[in-house]
Symmetry: C2
Subunit: 196 residues, 2 copies
Amino acid sequence: MESLVKRIQAEGRSLKGGVLKVDSFINHQLDPNLMMEVGKEFVRLFGHLPINKIVTIEASGIAPAIMTGYLMQVRTVFIKKKQPNTLENVYASSVHSFTREQDYEVCINANFLTPDDHILFIDDFLAYGNTARCMIDLAHQSGAIIEGMGFCIEKTFQKGGEYLTEQGINFHSLACVTSLEHEHISVCEEPKSRFK
Amino acid sequence: MESLVKRIQAEGRSLKGGVLKVDSFINHQLDPNLMMEVGKEFVRLFGHLPINKIVTIEASGIAPAIMTGYLMQVRTVFIKKKQPNTLENVYASSVHSFTREQDYEVCINANFLTPDDHILFIDDFLAYGNTARCMIDLAHQSGAIIEGMGFCIEKTFQKGGEYLTEQGINFHSLACVTSLEHEHISVCEEPKSRFK
């Protein structure tokens, strides 16, 4: 997605330890037009599949997910950070946080992920594939079918894409960051070779 | 907003301790059409004001906020739960969580809340007014001007509305829950008396 690539080039910042800062338009301050454009792109890539639900994970996945859900006219669920008091019948999993260097527990109400669900999973980043791994775990527990996964930005050098390919997941990333070395951001559109 | 009132009557559940569960359409599973309708209603109520930014707080405020931001064509920022490692120049505040019975720290990048900003604050719930109080604190710190606050659901018996009236804040709630006693949800549209 050319406009996203340009935006990353213009406003992104490469921080120490492979962190890409895009908090002026993706994961703190949001550009609603960009989010709508992202949604349209996910519809173009996945709209032919029998998707009946979008799943994402709080918090940065919610904006692109709700736009995609609106355009596809399907319900949208966000996986929550676990709060034992308020949720009863849940599937739980854990996610390793790259930025915080620790695991955290997440969950989804079992009523909102069932064997009838054909899921498109949406998230802002694909890095090591930790949130995707969590989605695969929750789908296994619930019997839901993953039709595809869509990410705004993939950091290809962190190998989450290789993991998803091994798992046979149909996934697309709207911008691929191939290196953040020496404070320089190398970013391009998704290679055509990934489209089957 | 009649459709929201009906939805609360149909799908809401009254839990112990004044908790209203609306996780099938507002704060876990989301109905994107309802979120868009909520956005349109906020535009109707606040669209005449010189708003140049929507502010919300993660995670449940993001969906109604991004829809409103899209319709108003303004940037949308979500206040983040504090992670000292990744944010540098921030305004910080604390929020008392009613469900968890504890305070948690939140912050916003100082670049995204400035004296040039005329804010519409959006959140899913107005209960005791704790997130609104946090927004007022962050606005004071930054010099941003609060033009209004919009909430999907207000629990009128928890007095957040009285606090905002005392503070002189222009606010609206799309559905007002007046009681959750005896597991019964009493809910209505916002009283016309609140409109000046």
